[in-house]
Symmetry: C2
Subunit: 280 residues, 2 copies
Amino acid sequence: MTKRTMLHDATEETRDQSQPADRALLSADTGTLGKAIALVELVCCADQPLRFSDILRLTDQPRGSLHRQLKHLVLEGLLDLSPDGTYAAGLRLLNFASRAWAQNSARKVAEPHLRRLQDLTGETVHFGALRGADIIYLDKLESRQTVRMHSQVGNASPVYCTGIGKAALSTLEDARVQQMVRTLQFFPFTPKTILDPETLLAEIRAIRTQGFAYDREEHQPGICCVAAPICAVSRGFVGGVSVTAPAFRAQEAQLRDWARPVLSAAARIEADLAVALAPR
Amino acid sequence: MTKRTMLHDATEETRDQSQPADRALLSADTGTLGKAIALVELVCCADQPLRFSDILRLTDQPRGSLHRQLKHLVLEGLLDLSPDGTYAAGLRLLNFASRAWAQNSARKVAEPHLRRLQDLTGETVHFGALRGADIIYLDKLESRQTVRMHSQVGNASPVYCTGIGKAALSTLEDARVQQMVRTLQFFPFTPKTILDPETLLAEIRAIRTQGFAYDREEHQPGICCVAAPICAVSRGFVGGVSVTAPAFRAQEAQLRDWARPVLSAAARIEADLAVALAPR
DNA sequence: AAACATAGTTCCAAATAGTGGAACAGGATC
DNA sequence: GATCCTGTTCCACTATTTGGAACTATGTTT
């Protein structure tokens, strides 16, 4: 998902003036690091293994530079170079991520509450955080345990078509929402996906008053959810919870019934978080 | 685990005198990237949130430089800076990793066979790959589904005290094993952990002849496993499978009985892998 | 078998991007 | 209000990255 969402997200500052015009337009300058990470992203996102010259073509950099950069990335374990000359994501990334996951304080605090919510509803429960214009899932408790868990953890989905995403937007200051919505690229994942800023903004206003968000098959056909945002004191939105179910099991009445437990789970997490974040 | 394995690999060097002698010995020079990744590692591995000056102390770099580096890492999403001034691993890492995981061809090929092995034995099945002197777990199928899966995926454990690790060593050329064993730092995770090169080398020789490896409470007290290596044509060790169980359920006879299904799972994965890797 | 592509690697002068000392700006604490 | 401790910005110096070109290795065509 969100194949294109992730490209330049960070800053953006028009260093306009005159000379170094177009480069500065889209992305903040993180120098060497930025270029290296862009390569990692390229390799990670590719849907087939890339060889040196594939990457050369995709980036059009001078060969010497590209070669050195890739060598560095391989040495650092961020990329793997197979003997057949194809590059793949390195195992060190997995290792970093497992630490990142284990460390994430909002997730840790939320965990027991997610479990409880799962017990209560018997459906799949998600926990996700906001990164740029995507929701990244940090946790997933399946209703039936046959499906693989990690298949979702770490995945990114756009804000505008997920319950947690819209819940997240509803907690942000208006200015930031405006700015974000303006730069969104809407993609019709399903016939029900919201495709224009106006509809989205209207929905966000509704979510602000009711306190939770629905996703009625807007991202995946046949999948609905109810989601609530979680905010921490002086830190704003730190994550969202949702209960997800196939549409036939999640009709209007049912979805509405789930809203209360979802909201109270979110509230409890907020409360625990306030305690967890207090020390130091 | 392996808390100390990763520390300075990139940075650190006494630039004092004149010759750049000793520096080159321990780590390849990946320049700016290496320093940046070392910071990510530092933040990821810390067991408590680090603030700017914590990192400053731990790295003793000039403040200006450190500050810029951290800023870049945050801009790239590899680190997160909370409003309270503490750094944490960034969500982008999770996102990269989920792609790395989904992409990994050995894992994809192995998956159905792991499932079968799990059905057959009723115990936990692992799939792991080699990175440096650690085994990184790519997959874990629990016997009982109550325990969380991702709690293990991406985790690193040393080669010398895990079944998959020792199985991996048994497939490497002697020279490489020697070199690796010589630089290993043995740590007594349990009373049964192998602690010296000689014992390890002897065990590896045994594993070479029998084709599979045991771990009898060498990493975690009360936990045993049987593991077999998986090799691909011209690519050597690409991963290992293991069946893991609590010691009381995994007595000698039982462990020995599991060896056959583990070996045949490994063989089947190797066969499938040969097909999967053939095209292109 | 020689000539020709194609893919990957190494080299080095030139310029850019990172370095690190020092000065600056809040916030606590005394 | 002075002092400490934290985090941020600035800028001359220099080390690192750059990118063109030359080189090697492998496989393909004439």
